[in-house]
Symmetry: C2
Subunit: 296 residues, 2 copies
């Protein structure tokens, strides 16, 4: 295995793109970031960057929703995004005509989950759930070392949860489901409910106990469905680290001693954790995807 193989990664977000070229050890040699404008201009800059540094495989992470079904004629495209100019853009097709290297393609959050998985893989973990709680809520799931896709990709941000209507009459902000998880607990929901953006709400405000409650309800459902070996919570809202102990306690309370919580209880502080890679999960995950495809 050549450790000095050059690998490329792209983290394509709705407001900015990050592109990097580095080694499979995670060492980054070149990196650039630019604003997300039109698809031609933005993807053109990314392609020019990779041409300059000639990686031998590239992992492409992109905001979604994406068509990730390799059997589909539109595989590798953004599908129905409301973002102007970007609906139905064939991301992988554009790269393929310009760069003759293996390409991996996945959602931003799946890629971040994979980055985190690779960062802790030495600890014999084979499954994890990565949730990002920011403007929206998204999830990436790894089972048996692989990103879970199924029919499409997880949309765990939209779980239906018990809505504490007496304590929290706020109706929710999700345009699809009103008071789903994202509708009750995203940064957008917090700002709408409290009239202050999440980053400006003080640590001792009751907003955080309610926020921790909804996040814990979602985690209980994820644990009961998948019993993942570790849960990683990232995103803007989770940068408020004082909320972790609240979530750890409330998740155990809501599990109510139910299997498999004996194991979880013993190590709750190591079970629900912030990202090891901080804000770098996405770009390092994209390079890890390139690494995986270069070995196929």
């Amino acid at each position: 295995m050549k450790d000095d193989l050059l690998l490329g990664g792209m983290e394509g977000g709705g407001t900015k793109f990050v592109c990097a070229v580095g080694k499979r050890t995670g060492e980054i040699l070149f990196e650039t970031r630019f604003e997300t404008t039109t698809p031609d201009e933005t993807l053109g800059k990314a392609i020019a960057f990779f041409r300059r540094h000639s990686p031998e495989a590239i992992g492409l992470a992109c905001f979604g929703p994406l068509d990730l079904d390799p059997r589909s004629p539109t595989y590798g495209s953004i599908t129905t995004t409301p973002k102007e100019h970007w609906a139905n853009i064939d991301v992988i097709g554009l790269f393929r005509t310009e760069l003759a290297v293996p390409l991996a393609f996945d959602t931003d959050v799946n890629t971040a989950a994979y980055g985190e998985f690779r960062a802790i893989q030495g600890e014999l973990v084979s499954s994890l759930v990565y949730l990002t709680i920011g403007t929206g809520i998204g999830a990436g799931i790894i089972i048996d070392g692989k990103i879970v896709h199924g029919l499409a990709h997880p949309e765990t941000g939209h779980l239906r949860l018990p809505h504490e209507k007496t304590r929290d009459p706020f109706g929710g902000t999700c345009p699809f489901h009103q008071d789903c998880f994202e509708g009750l607990a995203s940064g957008t929901a917090m700002a709408a409910r409290w009239g202050t953006s999440a980053e400006d709400i003080p640590d001792d405000h009751p907003a955080w106990s309610l926020e921790a409650h909804y996040i814990s309800s979602a985690l209980v459902n994820v644990i009961l469905t998948l019993s993942p070996e570790i849960i990683i919570l990232g995103g803007g809202v989770m940068s408020r680290q004082h909320i972790f102990p609240l979530i750890q306690t409330m998740t155990l309370d809501l599990l109510a001693g139910y299997n498999p919580s004996a194991l979880i209880k013993q190590q709750i502080k190591e079970y629900i954790v912030p990202p090891r890679l901080g804000k770098r999960s996405g770009i390092l995950g994209a390079i890890a995807l390139a690494d995986a495809i270069s070995r196929e």
Copy 2:
């Protein structure tokens, strides 16, 4: 691959055990069933049956909770069941001292899920969720052709769901969580809420619309978490087949057009379905587990 290899399967339930020996094609040659009494007597009967017919591998499915972690010193045991005499019984250990053949071990519901997976595998499905809704509610999940275990095993019966308290003031029957999925929608909950066992509630009773609502809420959460390629609903409550169209419609309504529902919407009648193997999912799943382990 020898198609005439003899394989054994055991479906160990709380009230009865079924043991069978057959071929990897699913053809059963010998079968016996007996009441669940003490562990010694019950497992003794199973072992005697397999001794008589000499299968070359055996799949053991058992009621749980089970220790399924191969790294655990108590791997292969029943753990904390309230069932008298059965807590901490080392099922796989007993078989291992008596029969020198490869043994697979899993929960009853995981095994049934695997049986269903093998029954539809020809259709290029690689993931499914199997829910059994009867006295209790359990789930088995297959991803990428393998049973999902994670830290322990899924306990999807205990999902937290929005409780329709205005329409349904009933408090729920779950001794751990009161109004979780099982507490609101198991056969036990139906009987407690309506004063009549589910099998005696007429098709046009409002109980079925409420039941379909809770099942659909749970399915929405499972779909948003895993986007499985097919969902199979078995168990006593689901033998009331008139509830399938209600669940199919309500699940789409609750997804509210959200991705990946476009795909699901086109084929909802083939997406949420009864078990292909009817009541035979468990025992045929156990034989399929034996088949899988005989190939390792």
